[in-house]
């Protein structure tokens, strides 16, 4: 299986855990999310925004988390970081990092792992950096939070991190303020800050969405190289299946706060097993013939308060039948992976590569 589109080198062999021996017992994954549920409590109301999310990321592996806006991808990412407001959020299930349930840790213990074992970069590089401190000061501060090092060593390592993400003249840029850099450079600085403490897992929440197309490819290159070189695992959150399929070996699709499909990237692209994933794939412009109308999924994601009891995609699904109004479970598939659709084995859904 080749990756035929766009000019980004396919580094899958070095960064995935698709080992040749299928009988080998899989090692304990780095991140193991089991049945994660997130409920926001407002004044007099409980809104379940995410339900029964299970996913794993092995050490060094890149996993994509895809779905439209409002599917709960970002909320899931923030929950893994412990960045949701604790006073108004309730959690179910487990978030195991190195076999340790983060949800049972005290805020202080969780903080020590945040930025050190698990880091996150965000969508908006223009607003994600503190405007009144230099780039270098913000990187150095991160380092000095997690390591006992002096100022000069922090400076050295910050410059090193800036060089790693391909920022030219890193020693000068170290003393620049965020507003003095372009969007792409800021996102690079943001990545440099996050990788400076060498986390085992990087959560990238739409890291290229706010950037120009040319810069997008550069940032993807940087992330791919970093992950290949340092063996850092990545959870790549995006609505762009095309972008995700270039970097990730596995793809987890979320719809309306639930995981609906979780399989190897190539399998998903050729033979999606959930109608929603198939719809997402078919609405990618790069895979559609030039002439004719771009296919799209009719309707929109229901809001959390209006989630139906049965299959949450039923209202927009072209294959819906009566049994779909029953609650759907994530079912193991014959050819590996999971899908949350009772018709997943019988339907032959169009992918993008066949």
């Amino acid at each position: 299986m080749k990756k035929p589109w766009r000019g980004i080198p396919w580094t899958g062999e070095t960064m995935t855990t698709r080992t040749s021996d299928p009988m080998a017992k899989p090692p304990q994954p780095l991140l193991d999310v089991r049945g994660l549920g997130i409920t926001f409590s407002g004044p007099g109301s409980l809104v379940p925004v995410v339900r029964d999310v299970s996913l794993t990321v092995a050490a060094g592996e890149s996993v994509g988390l895809v779905g439209e806006s409002g599917c709960g991808k970002t909320v899931t990412g923030l929950a893994l970081m412990g960045l949701l407001p604790f006073r108004t959020s309730r959690f179910d299930g487990q978030i195991l990092l190195d076999g340790e349930n983060l949800l049972e840790l005290s805020e202080r213990q969780w903080r020590k792992r945040r930025g050190r074992r698990i880091g996150m970069i965000f969508q908006e590089p223009m607003t994600a950096l503190d405007p009144v401190f230099t780039i270098g000061a913000q990187i150095g501060e991160t380092l000095r939070t997690h390591f006992r090092i002096g100022r000069s060593e922090a400076r050295e390592r910050a410059i090193e991190a800036l060089a790693q993400v391909g920022i030219p003249d890193p020693a000068t840029r170290h003393d620049a303020y965020p507003h003095e850099l372009s969007g792409g450079m800021r996102q690079r600085a943001m990545i440099a800050m996050t990788i400076s403490c060498e986390p085992a897992l990087l959560i990238a929440d739409e890291p290229t969405t706010a950037l120009d197309v040319t810069v997008q490819a550069q940032i993807m290159d940087v992330l791919g190289e970093l992950s290949a070189r340092s063996g850092m695992a990545m959870l790549f959150i995006s609505h762009d299946l095309g972008l995700v399929s270039q970097t990730c070996s596995r793809i987890v699709t979320m719809y309306a706060g639930e995981v609906v499909e979780s399989r190897a990237a190539d399998d998903v692209l050729c033979r999606p097993r959930h109608p929603y994933t198939s719809g997402l794939l078919r609405s990618l412009p790069s895979f559609t013939p030039r002439k004719g109308r771009l296919p799209s999924i009719p309707g929109r994601v229901p809001r959390p308060a209006e989630f139906p009891n049965g299959c949450r995609f039923e209202g927009r699904c072209p294959h819906a039948q009566q049994q779909c109004s029953a609650r759907q479970q994530l079912q193991p598939l014959r050819d590996g992976g999971f899908a949350r659709c009772w018709r997943s084995e019988e339907l032959s859904l169009p992918g993008v590569l066949s």
Binding site: M81, L83, R111, K112, R113, R114, G115, R116, G119, M120, F122, E124, T127, A128, L129, D130, P131, V132, F133, E141, T142, T145, H146, Y177, H179, M190, M193, T194
Partner: protein, 318 residues
């Protein structure tokens, strides 16, 4: 750099001229509405109409109003604030003699307002929407609403007359007796500070809440930074611009509010000077005092503008 700074200062001076002209012209116009005639006051009870007319002529009060104002402005531009109509003494000397008491009260009040207001604002922001927050916000609203002169009298009756901790009235020159001056200034300054405390706490609260909800604070938390660093280093630094603006406004307001406070505590500062002169329609004195106060306000604003460029790298000098 040096050149740029000088140009900045020069530009501010040019901006300052119309401000002074407008302020003094407004005061001059308002004083014309005050009943009474300074010439008659000077001439005394048994003066004839000719006497009063002669005095009026010698003081230049028989000239058209715009001419009176024009002469005053022309002299002021040359550094001469004219003489008092009543006492005949140079206004500048009188203002400079009384200014230290007023400044002592105002500066002390500002210090109290910052020292009390900042922690209150931070507390309210970090405990947003809790009972504590509502308590602080409530006290702040009360601080804005309570009239200064009334609060002054209450404080005097409790802390000066009741406990005897502070003198009831008067002031000491700060150049001769530093601690004595502070002791005398404590109650008037506390009176003056209430509005400032409330204003600083309220504005800092809303600014800090906005900062703490920002994307970059989420980044800071994602880095694993401890909460105290997020709040006191990044939070306050980003809210500092708002804080600085509020401090400037509060100080300017305090300078004006000294008028009532000095009356309550019988302090002979510039505030009481303005009140007395206005009652007697002694316009050169009122004008002169206002002129000096406007000057102080402008210098204060200039200092704050300079701090802006120090605190925020996005603000360019000049």
């Amino acid at each position: 750099m040096q050149n740029q700074f000088l140009r900045f200062l020069l530009w501010r001076m040019v901006q300052f001229l119309p401000v002074v002209a407008m302020a003094t012209l407004t005061i001059f116009s308002l004083i014309q509405l005050v009943p009474g005639d300074p010439a008659a006051t000077i001439a005394g009870e048994y003066a004839t109409a000719e006497n009063i007319e002669a005095i009026r002529h010698s003081l230049g009060l028989d000239r058209p109003l715009w001419e009176q104002y024009g002469i005053w402005l022309w002299n002021a531009a040359q550094g001469d604030l004219s003489n008092s109509l009543l006492s005949g003494l140079p206004v500048m000397d009188e203002v400079l003699r009384r200014l230290p008491s007023t400044l002592t009260i105002a500066v002390l009040a500002l210090c109290i307002a910052v020292i009390v207001g900042v922690p209150l604002g931070v507390l309210a922001a970090t405990r947003a929407d809790t009972m504590l927050d509502r308590l602080v916000t409530g006290i702040a609203s009360l601080g804005v609403a309570v009239p200064n002169f009334w609060l002054g009298m209450i404080l005097v009756s409790i802390f000066a007359l009741g406990f005897g901790w502070f003198p009831t009235t008067g002031a000491r020159p700060i150049s001769e007796d530093f601690w004595g001056a502070l002791h005398h200034a404590a109650l008037p300054a506390a009176t003056l500070a209430t509005g400032g405390i409330a204003e600083i706490a309220r504005q800092l609260r809303s600014s800090l809440i906005e900062v703490l909800q920002s994307q970059y604070v989420r980044t800071l938390r994602a880095k694993g930074l401890p909460n105290y660093l997020i709040l006191w280093k990044h939070g306050l630094r980003n809210a500092a611009l708002t804080l600085l603006t509020v401090i400037g406004l509060v100080f300017n307001h305090m300078l004006g509010a000294t008028v009532a406070t000095e009356a309550v505590f019988a302090i002979s500062g510039t505030g009481s000077m303005i009140v007395n002169a206005a009652i007697n329609k002694d316009f050169p004195v009122v004008q002169g005092a206002v002129f000096v106060l406007v000057l102080i306000v402008i210098v204060m604003n200039l200092i704050i503008d300079l701090f802006y460029s120090l605190l925020d790298p996005r603000v360019k000098k000049g």
